[in-house]
């Protein structure tokens, strides 16, 4: 690892630090959940319902049970030691609360109706396809139009009188925006390896939260919390789909206990489209009122969000609406519309990503209606304080995001007319969209151990979902001790470690920083006390507060040469350097190690933090190229500027933002899970038919972090960055599409069939 050129000590915070786990991944030695194998392991394969709604009339497993290698067939009435989990009456969060096989009803296409466990994967697959299930099928409801909502809408964030204000506004705007079902497609499939030892479960999982997974599964499996250990050392990303347990975990654990053998189950790519979550469809009506000169008088954001039959997942599209712009009158209403689909799940920037597609598209359209530059309209309505919560912002530089992005993309030279900009025989369009995501400091405990072999171990039951969390811990320890990165061992992804945060909501980094810093500083303080109290120590009699640690060595703060005489075991160490290596102190004291624990107190219990509105901000400027003769549209540039507090690792941070913008590109142009209206099946449930961007689709991407620290969130000033990068991409692209083609796409994704309606015929 090329770490020699990195700045030392506290300088390591904020630069691009190569991932400390990088070589494990590039060499294939990092073991993911289903990479775990054990002697005597058995393989489970699930059977999916082939109807979207109805009842199982019969299951005939007689042929399957006689097939070679078959150990167990599970289905309704044939599953042991699995209990119900009540989502709102329990600690923890589950994705799909109904236990697998708990009744004979089918609520969505692809629901697991049976599973086979066999000696080999092939035997299990063959037997699974030999199970005959007969159904009393009903027509599933997968209607994409969500207007049939007949429940009671939930009203939130109301201020002023939006309806009255809309009625009297000189300029009004009213449009509906639709985002389709999008499916999380992390490279790593969902999977579980469950091991039962007679008393305890060990679950090798791909989860974004080992602690939550343990809490939930102990209840689901009916054993005390301490009898469940969840291990998730490496995750091939999750995007929110792996936040909370899915049924395959219960199936594997139940089978492991019944058979008293380790059991592995993997959810295949087809299943991932129905059984492990998706971003639900949304239908959002935005009404804006404004004065002739573009001052917002009212915002009404009424949305429907699709959800499953049994769970209550809501895509909170209106979360950013109350504070992004200044307006005296505002209301958000939510309607949850049930369909025969699997449980939705948070997907990168849940709520904000579809919500800002609607709100920001509306702002772009309003600007056009007002004959005003969309950037000017935003600058004019920028909020000075959070008018939703009536609190000051802890740190908001959205205005600077807009102006910086505008400068970089060359917004000044944008001519407003549709199809008015040309380059190299193509029409060019430019568009803009803003982004926001909430910030918080959630609880975390971490321990730091100074070891006699000169290494430092950090432990925390959070996990690295591919974002660089391992490296963040190492950076913090290095910053506080000077111990080189390659002598810092970070242990994550194991529920037996001190409780850490779920990797979700862009809140892991801001949570782990204070706990790790406190733990490191406490361990160092203990070390210094011991160094001064040992009779043979060169620091004996010196006040601990006059000592410090630097480059992993204990030394006097007044810069005097320490007395190294008498440190007999240090023959292999360089004694000419300043100070004494910390491990020599441990050896002198005959200590196996010095450990300290640190905790992060949550911002929601912090009186000071509660006085502020905590959010990150950003914006995207997109440029598209349009060739009308062949209806070919390509996104050619995206310039993104973020105000996400201080960035701890610029390399990993930029990676995340690049990935998020690319995901936003996929959302804008490609991604849509289509349910067959007769069966309710996600009919494009594979990578050939559900398309995501290829490298050839990628525009020139430019990521800028403003890097203003937000000290209300933590002492590093770091917020979080996972989600926000995707928010605001789609409205920027659709506005650029409109600018180039004259076609307003209000229902994503933008398709060639939409663009063929363009009246701009020649470049």
């Amino acid at each position: 690892m090329a770490t020699d050129s990195l700045p030392h000590a506290s300088g390591i915070i904020g630069v691009a630090v190569p991932r400390i786990d990088g070589s494990l991944k590039t060499t294939g030695t990092a073991r993911y959940a289903v990479d775990h194998n054990f002697p005597n392991i058995a393989h489970a394969v699930a059977v999916q319902a082939t109807i979207g709604k109805g009842r199982i009339r019969s299951i005939d497993a007689s042929a399957a049970e006689k097939m070679p290698g078959v150990l167990l067939v599970m289905h309704h009435g044939k599953i042991d030691n699995v209990y119900r989990f009540y989502p709102h009456e329990s600690d923890g969060t589950i994705s799909e609360a109904r236990p697998p096989f708990s009744d004979d009803k089918v609520y969505y296409w692809g629901q697991f109706v049976a599973a086979v466990v066999a000696e080999t994967l092939e035997q299990a697959k063959a037997a699974a396809s030999a199970i005959k299930v007969e159904y009393d099928a009903e027509t599933p409801d997968v209607n994409p139009d969500l207007s049939d909502f007949d429940g009671e809408k939930q009203e939130s964030w109301k201020r002023g009188d939006p309806d009255k204000a809309l009625a009297s506004s000189p300029v009004t705007f009213d449009q509906t925006y639709v985002t389709p079902v999008e499916t999380h497609n992390p490279m790593e499939l969902h999977g579980t390896v469950a091991v039962w030892d007679g008393d305890n479960y060990t679950l090798y999982e791909c989860t974004q939260g080992v602690v939550n997974h343990r809490v939930v599964m102990s209840q689901v499996l009916g054993v005390p919390r301490e009898n469940v250990r969840v291990i998730s050392r490496f995750i091939g990303s999750g995007f929110g789909g792996k936040l909370f347990p899915w049924p395959q975990s219960s199936i594997a654990a139940s089978a492991a206990r019944t058979l008293n053998r380790p059991v592995k189950i993997s959810v295949d790519r087809r299943m991932m489209f129905s059984n492990t979550g998706h971003r639900p469809r949304t239908q959002q009506r935005i009404r804006l009122g404004a004065t002739q000169d573009g001052k917002l008088t009212a915002i009404r954001h009424d949305f429907f969000t699709q959800t499953s039959q049994l769970d209550d997942f809501v895509e909170h599209c209106g979360e950013q609406t109350p504070f992004l712009y200044s307006t005296p009158n505002l209301v958000v209403t939510t309607g949850m519309v049930r369909r025969n689909v699997g449980a939705p799940a948070p997907m990168r920037g849940p709520g904000a990503v579809p919500g800002l597609f609607a709100l920001e598209s509306a702002m772009n359209e309003l600007a056009e209606k007002l004959k005003m530059d969309p950037l000017e309209l935003r600058l004019k309505n920028d909020a000075e304080r959070d008018e939703g919560k009536n609190l000051p912002f802890s740190s908001r530089h959205l205005k600077e995001c807009w102006t910086t992005g505008a400068e970089k993309i060359g917004w000044k030279s944008r001519t407003p007319g549709v199809g008015s900009m040309r380059r190299n025989g193509k029409i060019v369009g430019l568009g803009l969209g803003s982004a926001s995501w909430s910030a918080a400091r959630i609880p975390c405990t971490a321990s730091v151990e100074l070891c006699p072999n000169g290494r430092v171990c950090v432990r925390c039951a959070t996990q690295d979902i591919g974002t660089g969390t391992y490296t963040i811990f190492a950076q913090v320890v290095h910053a506080a001790t000077g111990v080189p990165l390659d002598r810092i061992d970070v242990f994550l992804g194991d529920s037996s470690l001190p409780d850490g945060p779920t990797s979700g909501g862009s809140m892991a980094t801001s949570a782990v920083l204070p706990a790790t810093t406190t733990a490191t500083n406490s361990a160092v303080t203990r070390l210094l006390h011991i160094a001064t109290s040992l009779p043979d120590s060169p620091f004996h009699g010196i006040k601990p507060e006059n000592l410090a640690i630097a480059n992993g060595r204990v030394m006097q703060k007044n810069d005097q040469q320490p007395k190294v005489v008498g440190v007999s075991m240090s023959s292999s160490r360089d004694l000419t350097a300043n100070g004494v290596p910390f491990e020599e102190v441990l050896k002198m004291a005959n200590l196996s190690g010095i450990t300290a624990t640190g905790k992060t107190a949550p911002s929601f219990e912090d009186p000071k933090a509660k006085q502020y509105s905590l959010h990150s901000y950003g914006c995207h400027f997109a440029e598209v190229e349009w060739e009308p003769e062949i209806a070919r549209l390509r996104v050619s540039r995206v310039v993104s500027v973020f105000d996400c507090g201080r960035i701890i690792n610029k390399g990993a941070g930029t990676n995340q933002m690049l990935g998020a913008v690319i995901m936003g590109l996929g959302m804008s142009l490609f991604e849509e899970t289509v349910h067959d209206h007769r069966t309710g099946q996600p009919i494009n449930n594979n990578f050939a038919d559900y398309i995501v961007p290829t490298m050839a689709d990628l525009p020139d991407l430019d990521i800028t972090f403003l890097d203003y620290p937000d000290y209300i969130v933590n002492e590093y000033g770091a917020r979080g960055i996972g989600e926000i990068g995707m928010a605001g991409v789609a409205p920027a692209i659709t506005d650029a599409v409109y600018h180039a083609t004259g076609v307003r796409v209000r229902e994503l994704p933008v398709r060639i069939e939409d663009l063929l309606k363009s009246t701009v015929h020649e470049a």
Partner: protein
Amino acid sequence: METFNYVKAPNVEKALASAEQAKFIAGGTTLVDLMKLHVETPKTLVDINLLPLEKIEKLPDGGLRIGAMVRNSDLAWSDEVKKSYPVLSEALLSGASPQLRNMATTGGNLLQRTRCMYFREPNAGTPGGYGCNKRTPGSGCAALDGFNRMHAVLGTSDKCIATHPSDMCVAMAALEAVIHVEGPKGKRTIPFADFHKLPGDTPHIENALEPGELITHVDLPKPVEGAKSTYLKLRDRASYEFALASAAVVARVEGGHIRYIRVAMGGVGTKPWRSHEAEAALMGKPANQASFKAAALAALAKSKPHKDNAFKVELAKRCLVRSLKTATATA
């Protein structure tokens, strides 16, 4: 996947002898996929990768002989193909991904099966599954009333609207290739236009191969002197994606008029779609936008769109107009 026997054939004779109740496997890029999906359930796979059919040779008459086992990437990057049949090279390189092209073969690509989502469902054509007349004749066609955005608008029937997915075949249709086969009854040749069958009432019969016949090679006629050729593929994303519409054009222009023209289209037909209508509209006409538009209109005159794919008609027209413009442009 079902259990199957596997035989490795050392030569054509042995391959033909093992062919009963068997499928030949070359690159396997379609077949293995479909076996995993339970669409193909051969009792025996006869591996023909050892067969000496991997050469590209010039024919005495100036044509080109392509062995059935020539990989797509080797064919696309062959100097002879790049020079004399650029439409074929471009078509091949627009298809799939480099990894797939390294495996996929010339013979195999002729037999590439449709990407119809309903056809590829494991239970299609079975009771309780989607109707699919290709899978089980008489079981119906779920695509007619289903999600049919990717489906064909030309050559369809009320039994099947599945699109032929190959890019290579579109170029070969325009080049008037000839397919050589060998079987229990000996050797024979099949003109390209006769090789793929329209679905009609028998969509399960996709080509002119008799049971047990093996494609040995494909001959391309001598390049048309003075002609230019091109392939254009329009699709949802920039690579690794099937065509929504594509066009292969071979054209020769003399004195501003079109004197030789071959037009084939992809992404819109139930087979690689040679458009005699477009050719008739262009032959002898001035090489200008008006002629191209008239040809596009003629090419799509008989198109029959369904619920989600009407846009393909307009897209195919634009694709054809641009291809004609490219192929007839004077340097």
